[in-house]
Symmetry: C2
Subunit: 408 residues, 2 copies
């Protein structure tokens, strides 16, 4: 198995100071699911009345915990809730045994914490096709329950890592009716454990109150503009999960508050960007801004086509201002484009317009720009008002090393 | 610019002996479009009465020669025809200048060869966004016309290469009404020239006669099962072109003949496989057989999702029997799948069935199998009668080297 010890060059300086969120407490344990010498289970317990919204992988081969969460979402939100996540084993493609493991774990959490089993959400990330050693997890639940603390979110972010190279957190605070409410979230993603695929797990907590059905609808829309606009390698995990929990402990109802919604979306965007920054082998963080498309959906199709193109991603890895590959990726996307209305900029440098290279374009300007670790590629289709922004990273030898250079 | 000198490890032993096709003559020239010391233009002239059918890239940013060919296809087939192809410059994303270059070249070919300009088909492959130096090509047409020969197809295959590591040819012969007709084809593809994308060009000739409209319809269907079932990196060129020319010189009408159609499709499949075998950085030739899907179209969607998955392709590069990544790629494809009816085999080794690893599966068997240079991954969805086969190669450091490890 590949051991990746180097922290991504795109990582932030350190884990941020996250505000404590009233109404949620965390605990972690080293259960030895697969790893030794590190934590691999996190438990979060949420006070009664917490609204929980979720977005999950659309994979048709999704893992047992995902199916269980999807069944439970949207239920009665008056009681307390709990989230239990393990790393080291994805409990995916484990047949009927997988569901049995979820039942064992959720029942044990319910029994120990007093949370109704219908409100115990789990996720698993790690190796796939191997039975989850759920007994190891179950045996640590009492200890974790006894050690729950409101000040342990960084430890939770660490426990859910697989081969992520850094723990990921983001936060925001908003004034509503003169009171401050806080949002804090953690994520894991883009690490890899053989023989598995990268999985993204995201947990966001706020002490604001938010009607559960309205929260679900807001979070689904925000996920489409944040987590569903990032791509590392176009592959989709069987286990991707996002939960947003609004405890209401601050005594403020944020349902539909525009300022709160903007702050929540910002936290989601920040966490999404951190996942890209930890993309396997990434050395460049790339923002692709598409404007002038026939619709927002077509803009996103173009953006993801560029973001997923191996030829675009390798060109950027090589610091090559290869705008021809961007043209190619737009052409193949399936969304509407007119070669002769298309313009492309790298940063502030207009590269191509009206179906040809810009007359002012100087290759040396673009070559200098491409050396930066953060790049913007702006594409205007010249057709309509549709727009979208997507984020990705480059495709490097590091990606091949992580994903090919081992024998299982 | 990267210089790739090593021939693909998946290349055949040598260029095959192709039968001469009555009614078509070839010539090549070293016009210095971009390269020095090698041929870079090929001219093929086809006798009067040749039926011509074509299939082209669906890119919305396609190159000027593609647009010109598409306009001309399906026209009167009584006169002679000509094909002129240059390597070194793609004449793509060159604005209105691009169309003017096509006009210059096609008019010069028409004037010199006596072929009506409406039957002169061109293609260009190489650097994009730079004006085609069409004068250099035009200046060699008289010499080429004087040197046309029925026995020069291998030279033609060499002249259209960019950084292909070997020239590609395939052939078949069929008996119809006691007479032998021949099919011979050449292709280029999966080489790369900075700053451009891989382009696939294919030219197939037969001395059989074939009604032009019927040929077009047959070739379109065959292309969907051959060239449109291969993928190296999921990227689509702005210039991909396939022409099939039936000269009729053998005095045999093959229109709708099942044996002929099968032979033509075999030649197309052979050439498609050669393109994959020259895939950038390829060390493994992979056949993905999908059965039991809801429809043939859904089977192809699943197959291409597996074939294009960077995680599947890197696992194969690492000789890792990582069936979990195959499950992932099926799950994300968007086509129908039921986790618990899915079965996956690597060669003859049943790996997964009924939503979990097969009870008879031994990792060491699969690990040994993965060392072969040619691999079959068989996927049965267990849902219906839909099936498709697609072909791809692995994703290696060689791909990154070719596409990233240079500065333009």
């Amino acid at each position: 198995m590949a051991t990746i010890t180097q922290v991504s060059p795109l990582a932030p300086a350190g884990f941020p100071d996250l505000p404590q969120i009233a109404g949620v407490r965390f605990a972690t344990a080293a259960a030895g699911v697969k790893y030794t010498g590190r934590t691999d289970v996190m438990l979060a317990v949420l006070d009664a009345g917490t609204s929980v919204a979720g977005v999950f992988t659309r994979s048709s081969t999704r893992a047992a915990p995902v199916l269980d969460c999807q069944q439970k979402l949207g239920g009665d939100s008056t009681g307390p809730a709990a989230i239990l996540v393990n790393s080291g084993n994805a409990n995916a493609f484990t047949g009927h045994y997988g569901q049995a493991s979820v039942t064992e774990v959720t029942q044990a959490v319910a029994k120990t914490t007093g949370v109704p089993v219908s409100r115990v959400f789990t996720a698993s990330t790690g190796v796939i096709g191997e039975p989850l050693p759920h007994d190891r997890i179950v045996s640590r639940i009492e200890d974790m329950n006894a050690g729950l603390s409101g000040d342990a979110i960084e430890g939770a972010a660490q426990a859910i890592m697989t081969t992520d190279t850094f723990p990921k957190g983001a936060s925001a605070q908003v004034e509503i009716d003169g009171k401050t409410v806080s949002i804090a979230g953690i994520a894991k993603g883009s690490g890899m454990i053989a023989p598995d695929m990268a999985t993204m797990l995201v947990y966001i907590f706020t002490d604001a109150g938010y009607d559960q059905a309205a929260l679900q609808s807001a979070v689904s829309a925000m996920a489409d503009r944040t987590f569903n606009c990032i791509t590392v390698d176009s592959d989709t995990s069987t286990s991707d999960s996002l939960l947003v929990c609004a405890t209401g402990a601050a005594g403020v109802d944020a349902t539909g508050d525009a300022g709160f919604d903007a702050a929540l979306e910002q936290v989601m965007r920040d966490l999404a960007h951190l996942v890209v920054r930890d993309g396997e082998g990434a050395t460049k963080f790339i923002e692709i801004r598409v404007t002038g498309a026939m619709s927002n959906a077509e803009a996103k199709t173009h953006g993801l086509s560029v973001a997923n193109s191996p030829l675009v991603k390798t060109a950027i890895a090589g610091e090559d201002a290869n705008w021809g590959r961007v043209v190619m990726a737009i052409g193949k996307s399936g969304a509407t484009a007119d070669r002769d209305r298309l313009s492309i900029s790298f940063g502030d440098i207009l590269v191509a317009e009206k179906g040809w290279v810009s007359p002012d374009y100087r290759e040396e300007d673009a070559a200098a720009y491409m050396k930066a670790p953060e790049l913007v590629i702006a594409i205007d289709l010249g057709l309509g008002a549709g727009k979208a922004t997507v984020w990705t990273c480059d495709l490097t030898h590091g990606y091949i090393e992580i994903n090919a250079d081992y024998r299982s």
